[in-house]
């Protein structure tokens, strides 16, 4: 997993397909619920191309306990965020899957962050890590990205106010060098950006690289997209480099990171497929549809091929101006279920 953005289409199709087929077979043999579903839907376990690999709807992890390992091998349970009262996804990890997730993330971030671990500001509160046996999506993200940082500083107090004094101290010590900032999109927007704007405080983090993810659904009232988010954050916090990423707790480690052109990229060990929300047929580039994600990482649970509830568009493959290979795409967000019908022919984006 040394070069995450160098594989071209034909080569990737062969290498990734073989790994996905191996995983389908593994889960078919190790997870009873998975094998029942595959048998019932009469799908082929060994697919002839990546688009034919059987997929599960991601919501299934909310209603079922899906795992391909015995209970005693579970080392960590990840849960999706979800507002209170909502059922959450449960993802069971064993030692090997947890390790390969971390390693994949490292290989992916190296082209962006380099080899050296950077002084790191986490735009969140430390209390999200309270329960060590079970991490929320936020906790899992923070821990995963913490490997790229050192001298970790949590910028939010437990009551979600900004720790100005701590920030100032941190910047006095490390402000002259490159630093890493990490946080969840809606947390940054609500508890950092808006507070600073209200109080008319502008910061100067011009040595910082900000990585943020977690989706836009909690910001739907704000009608904000990736481009204007980046712009406004740059303006208020003085950050020079910002990368959004798309990823989910059901496939931790395989994330899709925004390149300097503003597009999300699929790395060599994962891919995206866009499907028509009604027929589930694979649609051509430029057409909006439901995002399916495949990844070679999930071994302890059958999550290597998942149909999400997110809508997105593939812009192109192997020819992004940024130089990274692989499919590049945009995510529009999550459209309420009632509105899914018909949206595929209303929205289009350039090819």
């Amino acid at each position: 997993m040394k070069e995450p953005f160098h594989l071209e289409k034909t080569e990737k199709e062969i290498i990734l397909l073989e790994k996905l087929n191996e995983l389908s077979e593994l889960h078919f043999n190790a997870c009873e619920a998975y094998s029942k579903m595959i048998k019932k839907s009469e799908q082929e376990i060994i697919a002839k191309s990546i688009i034919d690999v059987p997929f599960l709807p991601v919501q299934l992890f909310k209603s079922m306990e899906l795992k391909s390992i015995p209970d005693e091998e579970v080392v960590k349970v990840l849960t999706s965020s979800g507002t209170s009262g909502q059922t959450v996804s449960k993802i069971y990890l064993d030692k090997n899957t947890a390790i390969s997730q971390t390693k994949a993330l490292v290989s992916l971030m190296k082209p962006v962050l380099g080899e050296k671990r950077l002084p790191m500001i986490i735009l969140d509160t430390k209390s999200v890590l309270k329960n060590r046996k079970s991490f929320s999506a936020r906790g899992a993200g923070i821990i995963g990205f913490s490997n790229f940082g050192r001298k970790h500083f949590y910028a939010l107090n437990d009551d979600m106010t900004l720790d100005y004094d701590g920030l100032k101290k941190f910047m006095d010590e490390f402000g002259h060098q490159k630093i890493l900032m990490f946080g969840f999109t809606f947390m940054i927007w609500k508890y950092v950006f808006k507070k600073l704007k209200e109080q008319r405080i502008k910061l100067d983090f011009n040595n910082a690289i900000l990585i943020h993810g977690g989706g836009w659904k909690k910001l739907s009232d704000e009608a904000i997209d990736s481009l204007s988010f980046n712009q406004q954050i740059k303006e208020q916090l003085g950050i020079s480099e910002i990368h959004n990423y798309y990823g989910m707790v059901e496939q931790v480690g395989s994330i899709f990171i925004e390149c300097k052109e503003g597009y999300l990229h699929s790395p060599s060990y994962a891919d995206v497929i866009i499907r028509d929300p009604i027929s589930f047929e694979n649609v051509r580039n430029g057409v909006l549809g439901l995002i399916q994600v495949v990844s070679e990482l999930p071994r302890s649970y059958p999550g290597h091929s998942l149909l999400t509830e997110d809508l997105g568009t593939i812009i192109g493959e192997d020819n992004c101006k940024c130089g990274w290979k692989g499919k590049y795409f945009t995510v529009l967000g999550r459209i309420p279920k009632a509105e899914i019908r018909g949206c595929s022919d209303t929205f289009q984006e350039g090819e």
Binding site: K95, I99, K103, V106, K110, E115, R132, I143, N147, R150
Partner: protein
């Protein structure tokens, strides 16, 4: 030996744990969060900066000795 003391203190190990044989994720205290604290302490005490790959490779006590050896520290 300094390194053993650091492991013992950061991971809150009791006397029954054989530190020489200790591996990552085999006890509740040495999980991803414990690992982060361990790395931070090692960097502070030995005044070094570990590379990302070394942070991830440090999957056992003996591996820790091997990796720290590369950084010319005495432990």
């Amino acid at each position: 030996m300094k390194l053993k003391e650091i492991f013992k203190e950061v991971l809150e190990l009791d006397e029954t744990v054989n530190i020489e044989e200790l591996e990552y994720n085999t006890i509740p205290q040495w999980d991803s969060i414990g690992h982060m604290s361990l790395i931070a302490e090692l960097e502070d005490v030995f005044d070094i900066m570990l590379d990302t790959d070394d942070v991830l490779d440090m999957s056992s006590f003996s591996k820790a000795k091997e990796i720290l050896g590369k950084y010319d520290v005495v432990f």
